[in-house]
Subunit: 145 residues, 2 copies
């Protein structure tokens, strides 16, 4: 099948399939006489694997590792699990950062009247305005990441 067909079957855009080939995530597709890429069911399966792993938030590099493990019949599930654990830690880290932002932002928003007047604790806090930023204990802190 052509790249468009493969794209439809896998929900991976044709452009992205070409991109994955260009960075070596997938092997170069075979070609017709006129240069069109052709894909078979195994290619589709691989693309679906990639798509699912990407949807779980794995980076392309991590997906490459997962693909290698998938193809390696002598893999140990411990290696797969280690990759997953690493990724889970990244997710947790990102969630913690977002949570921290969320709390600060929501707190500031609660104190902002949101009317036609210019007084705004959100701006006051961003400006580091000690006089206007009342609840100092809740002031924005720097994140490590």
């Amino acid at each position: 099948m052509n790249i468009g067909q493969a794209a439809k079957k896998t929900c991976v855009p044709a452009k992205t399939i070409r991109y994955y080939e260009s960075i070596g995530l997938i092997a170069p597709a075979s070609r017709t006489a006129s240069g069109y890429r052709t894909y078979d069911d195994r290619d589709v399966q691989t693309l679906r694997f990639i798509q699912r792993a990407r949807n779980l938030g794995f980076s392309v590099k991590q997906v490459a590792n997962l693909l290698a493990l998938w193809r390696d019949r002598d893999r140990s599930s411990a290696d797969v699990k280690a990759l997953a654990r690493e990724h889970l830690a990244e997710i947790d880290q990102r969630m913690a950062e977002l949570q921290s932002m969320r709390e600060t932002l929501e707190h500031l928003m609660q104190r902002c009247h949101g009317d036609e007047r210019p007084e705004c604790p959100i701006l006051a806090d961003l400006a580091g305005d000690e006089a206007e930023a009342e609840h100092k204990s809740r002031r924005i802190k720097d994140f490590a990441g």
Copy 2:
């Protein structure tokens, strides 16, 4: 003060300060006779504002809007709050995505032995292997974003 001094005071790397100038987020700095950028306390305050807003996860574009509102004495706090609300929605969306990934990943990990054997439900699920991916109700779903 020089850019290095300003960087130290604001926790914004010199390179990033130049970058912010290049994209127009901050006004071009004044220069010494020999071409060195110089910064005063007002510049430092602006950089700190930017830094805090970035730490809250606002995009550079959003920060530009916040800066404009900050400088506009006739702003309405409603405009600021609207920006914040928009950003909060983005944060919530990203958190929901991460949470969904997290749940799927953790579920898969729980079922993976993580030993020297090759059998691995994580890979089986990514491969879409219906025979080996037991708990179908928990199969990976596509995300909108």
